[in-house]
Symmetry: C2
Subunit: 183 residues, 2 copies
DNA sequence: GTCTATATTAAGATAGAC
DNA sequence: GTCTATCTTAATATAGAC
C-alpha cells in the first residue's frame, strides 16, 4: 500500500486542523501532491484518508499497547509501557487525540463506530489486566475507564491551557495510580 | 440583548455539529430565521454567535460555580454543587463540551484565548478551595487540574462509547474523591 | 426585524493529457 | 502516478424590498 507513505503527514494535518479544517488545498500543499493525485491514492477523498489513518492507529494500538497488556509481565510494567507508547503517539502532549477530534466534529457520524471499537478494545485490554490482578469485573471496568478518562481529559486540558506539562504529569503518575488500586 | 433568545438553540447546534458542521443553513432551519435575519442579529456571522455563547457560558460558570467555590461552606458541599451544575450543563452526559469542540476544530485559533481563560478561572477557583482546606499550592493545583481532567475525559469517553453512565459515575464520585485528598 | 434574491468564494471532486 | 483545467455544489455573506 503506497497509502502508508502519507499517513504521518495526513495524521498531522487532521490533528492540527480537524476534519473540516483539513481542506484538500492544505492536504495538497502538505503532501506535495495535486488534488487529482490525492484522489488517485484515496479515491473516496478525505473519508478514505481518515479511514486509512484510523486503521493505522488501530494496528499501532494492537501491536504496541494491547499486545503488551494481554501478554506476560507485572501490571505496573504493562501500564508503564502503555503510557510510554501513548506519550509517543501524542508527542508528549503536543498533539491532540484524533479520536476526540473526530468525535467532536461534523464527521462524528461517519467515524463514530470505528472510534468506539478502538476505545472499547483498549478499555477491555486494561480490564483484563485488572481482572488478572484479582479485581472483580465491575471494579476492573471502572479502573480501566478511569485510565482512559485521565488520558483523554489530560489531552483536552493540555490543549485548552496550552501546557503539555499537564499531560506529562498525568502520564507519569498514571501507572502507579492504576496499580495502587490493586492493593 | 435580543441575542440571548437564540443562545440555547445555537449552543445545541454547535455542540451537535461542531463549528464547521453547524452551517448557516442548519442554523437558519433550527432558529426559524432566514440567513439575512441571522446576520441582522449577529453581524459577524458564526464567530459572533459562538462568542455570544461563550460569554453566556462564562457568566453561567461565574454565577453558578465559581461563586459557590469562592463562597462560604464546606469543600464537599461546594464540589457537590459544582458537579450538580455541570450535570445540568452537560445534560447528564448527553451533550459534549463546547470548549472541547472549539479546541478540536478549525476554530481553535479564534476561540482558544477565551476558552483558556474560562478553564483557568475554573481551575483557579478549585485551587482556592483546596488551599483554604490546607493543601499547599502545588498539591492544590494538581488536584484542581485532576478534577477538570476527570470531567473533560468523562465527556470524551461518554461520547466515544455512547454511554452517559460513564459521565454520571464520574460526576457522582468526584466530590468525595476530591475531598478525600484533603485528609 | 424579516424576507427573497443574489453575490462571492472555496470546498470537494473529476476529466483527460502526459 | 502526476498534472492542469474544470465542474459542481455548498458555504459565507450582502443588497435591498417590505
Amino acid at each position: 500500500m503506497s497509502k502508508a507513505k502519507y499517513i504521518p503527514c495526513l495524521l498531522s494535518l487532521f490533528r492540527q486542523h480537524g476534519y473540516d479544517g483539513a481542506t484538500l488545498a492544505k492536504i495538497s500543499e502538505a503532501t506535495g501532491l495535486g488534488k487529482a493525485s490525492l484522489y488517485h491514492h484515496f479515491p473516496n477523498g478525505k473519508d478514505e484518508m481518515v479511514n486509512t489513518i484510523l486503521n493505522s492507529l488501530q494496528v499501532f494500538m494492537e501491536d504496541q499497547i494491547l499486545a503488551t497488556l494481554a501478554g506476560e509481565g507485572e501490571p505496573l510494567a504493562k501500564f508503564e509501557r502503555m503510557c510510554d507508547r501513548l506519550s509517543y503517539v501524542y508527542e508528549n502532549g503536543d498533539q491532540p487525540c484524533l479520536f476526540a477530534i473526530l468525535l467532536m466534529g461534523s464527521a462524528r457520524d461517519t467515524f463514530h463506530d470505528q472510534v468506539k471499537r478502538i476505545f472499547q478494545a483498549w478499555i477491555d485490554a486494561m480490564v483484563g489486566v485488572f481482572q488478572n490482578a484479582g479485581l472483580d469485573q465491575e471494579l476492573a471496568k471502572r479502573r480501566a475507564e478511569d485510565a482512559a478518562i485521565a488520558i483523554q481529559g489530560a489531552l483536552i486540558l493540555t490543549q485548552g491551557l496550552n501546557d503539555p506539562r499537564i499531560f506529562q504529569r498525568v502520564i507519569n503518575e498514571l501507572p502507579q495510580k492504576l496499580c495502587s488500586a490493586l492493593f
